[in-house]
Symmetry: none
Subunit: 220 residues, 2 copies
DNA sequence: CCGGCGCCGTCAGCGTCCTGTCAGGTCGGC
DNA sequence: GCCGACCTGACAGGACGCTGACGGCGCCGG
């Protein structure tokens, strides 16, 4: 699940990116309208979080251009302007949802998940898989009722597999999600997976030899 | 559900009161800043609808005073359209939402309901967690019956974690909330948390290493 | 105007937990 | 049965977060 976060304020952007990544999304952040337009036009995203007040090109113009060229990914609009007219404009420009600042992070996450789910993805905040219960907001996991203590890295790996549970995730992709630019060897990932499996039991994280890892809902 | 409507223009006030009452709220209306401040400070409301241009005391000053003395009811600010600076000031002063004039009554009602739901969904003003009792209106905490003396900063941190107890709050988000634009180092926050914990005991403020802090209802 | 007090940010030190690496071991495919 | 892909237990360096001490600052009373 890839998200494009368009936000010029560094501080807000940092929090938004952290929240989305913590929820298992892969996040790309850009800070100005032109870059946003180009990035959204040339790459595929499952969701765009779009601020309206942007340098170099207004957010609404970016959105209109995307829609004009046929890009139809769900777009969640953030704006400092709360006026009724702005909202109508936003909706007419093709926004799927609208979140006035200031907002609570959990609200952003809830709406992001709702949009992605509506678009065919998956992801309520609390999900059950057999004896396993995963809470994406609290970043907590219980197994047969007992809390499972996951480290930050383990959690991010699990959440990523969970959000992308429809497919097999390659090791390089997971490495990229977990470590970003400063790379690690493949074995680092294997170690993380091993620790995850020990804590979660079998039947949760599967391996497709030669391809990567995947989340198996059918725990046993 | 009690609403305090602060508005000096009689015509607008009449419409606002009518709309809110029609929506099932019990409405108290005052027309000047001083009365507003006193009323909001001495009585409990589930929501305040606050106009900024007021006689006898400016709306922003009223809001700041309430927040300074720990009143945490949701406040919906009304103001003249397009005043960008006012908006920023309002948010910094502690407004929960913002509605520029002129507005539609439906818009006012929608936002009013959203604010009340957001605040009310999290429970009453007085909440118990084990031996801990937190009163959000009086901004007081007791532990096994004994009052706990929290400083303003400690209280704000606790209240924020409490209100957001459904999720893990990142340090940067908490820093933002506590200090706004004039930033502090991460350690400042750690110190606040440490002092909070010493006063509240264990099992109240939890840490999720690598992610942030959270409120644990399960005290022990 | 002065002294005391409470608040709180900073610093340095410390313990704990995390995690990448290594050295094997195991499994699966051919 | 061979080879490579993957798993795993142990370990050590280091990141992260906690804490006690200190001192500056503002507020208040005298």
């Amino acid at each position: 699940m890839r998200v494009l976060a368009v936000e010029d304020d560094d501080r807000i952007a940092r929090d938004v990116v952290a929240a989305l990544e913590g929820a298992g999304f892969r996040v790309e952040r850009v800070a100005d309208g032109e870059t946003a337009w180009f990035t959204g036009d040339t790459e595929d995203f499952d969701l765009v979080v779009l601020d309206l007040g942007l340098p170099r090109m207004d957010g609404l113009s970016v959105l209109k251009r995307w829609r004009a060229s046929g890009r139809n990914m769900p777009v969640l609009v953030l704006t400092a302007r709360g006026s009724w007219q702005e909202r109508v404009e936003g909706i007419e420009a093709g926004a799927d949802d609208y979140l006035p600042k200031p907002f609570r992070m959990e609200e952003l996450l809830a709406r992001a998940r709702a949009l992605v789910r509506r678009a065919g993805g998956l992801g309520a905040a609390v999900q059950e898989f057999g004896e396993l219960v995963v809470n994406l907001n609290r970043m907590s996991v219980t197994r047969s009722g007992a809390p499972v203590n996951l480290t930050a890295l383990e959690w991010r790996a699990l959440a990523y597999l969970l959000v992308n549970r429809a497919r097999v995730v390659s090791p390089s992709e997971l490495l990229d999600h977990l470590y970003g630019d400063d790379a690690r060897e493949a074995n680092a990932l294997e170690a993380v997976i091993a620790r995850l499996r020990r804590k979660l039991g079998n039947g949760v994280v599967g391996t497709r030899r030669g391809f990567g890892y995947f989340f198996e809902g059918t725990s046993g």
